[in-house]
């Protein structure tokens, strides 16, 4: 019961924050306008960068898991 209330509160706070922050950002988004220049090519660059970062995060996590397993096996021997 208690943890449910906590989650609900957290969700409410997040929603309120999103409602305030996102329109404010959209109104004053000159900093994002460079992404529109030269036919919005930077939006493509951003998409490729996101895919690259996602794959790198995957590799990092796998690397961590492997290191843990290696250490476990090493300790066993």
């Amino acid at each position: 019961m208690k943890i449910h209330t906590k989650i609900l509160n957290f969700a409410t706070i997040l929603t309120i924050m999103a409602c305030h922050v996102i329109p404010a950002k959209a109104a004053g988004s000159e900093s994002l306008d460079f992404l529109r220049s030269t036919g919005k090519i930077y939006a493509v660059v951003a998409v490729i960068a996101i895919i690259f970062i996602g794959i790198v995060i995957f590799l990092f996590r796998l690397d961590n898991k492997l290191t843990k397993l290696e250490n476990q096996i090493k300790n066993e021997q």
């Binding site: 996102i22 959209a26 994002l32 992404l35 529109r36 030269t38 036919g39 919005k40 090519i41 939006a43 493509v44 951003a46 998409v47 490729i48 996101i50 895919i51 996602g54 794959i55 995957f58 796998l62 898991k65 492997l66 397993l69 476990q72 096996i73 066993e76």
Partner: protein, 350 residues
Amino acid sequence: MKGFWWKIMGAAIFLYVLIGGMTVPLKPGITAVSPNHTYTGRQAEFLIEGYNTRFVSGGRSRVWLKMDSTHALAHAVAEAVDENHLKASFSLPATFPSEDQTIPLTLIIDNQEDGVFVQPNAVFLTRDTTDTGPSAEAWLQGRISDLHYPAGIKFPYRSILNETIRNTFFHVALWFAMFILLIAGVYHAVCYIRTHDIDHDTRSSAYTRVALLYGILGLITGSVWARFTWDTFWTQDIKLNMTAIAMLIYLAYLLLRTSTEDVDKRARLSAAYNIFAFVALIPLVFVIPRLTDSLHPGNGGNPALGGEDLDNTLRLFFYPSILALTLLGLWMSSLLTRYERLRYKWIFKS
């Protein structure tokens, strides 16, 4: 090198998509026409702003204003201001052959270097008060002929998309690759239920995990793309929300797998859940968005992905991109599978 060829192939094809997809130029297009509204019987000078155009070096540009397939004004010889700006003067006839008060006109430009390109609804023409009534005269003189079609590959120019049409190779291909990986995952889930071989469970979960990574990346990249085309990170678009729900269903799959330590129980539960999630995914992503209106091509009132949104020049990179992302996904999931096998080997030994 044995067993490595398909990994190298995946990387090489993705490199081809990256280089080709980013360096092939866009076709010329028209970004703005001013004024975009005028009246009959006047002398009008339009300033046309182009994208990727060569109005100066392309030689003489001819400009037409077209009403429909049989009615067009005689072409005007335009004067280039610079490579991307063109001035075209028309003496507009006193009337037009339509009952409407205002008609949209299509602008057509042709020159030697750029070839022919069009902008529908570029200029709106309203009947002036001195208008004498509908007549087709003066609208039958425009013969749109001797057009240029330059050789070489260029991606289509779409008015809102501009250069972001290249995201088709990354964002859209990511979803296709995700779907192929999910099919592999559900195939091994079925295999597990039939054979109770734990290795099928390992492979099924590896494919599903990588597919989920692709799905989340697809949502984020789509959000970024939407910001610069639809002007918002998240819209009420049915496909977005339904895909988000599908992703949540698959996130629950990961939670389910951490819920029990018993290997056989976990394998049975997750195999059954995987099949359920896949069955839920199909109506959520492929059926419901087609029943209502959607901003995505191939849904609602839109035609299927094709035409100008996916022409043959885009296909040259789109299909290889799906193949490359699928191979890279299989590579990543094979790494996960090998890790899990090692872990099981170690757990069961000790």
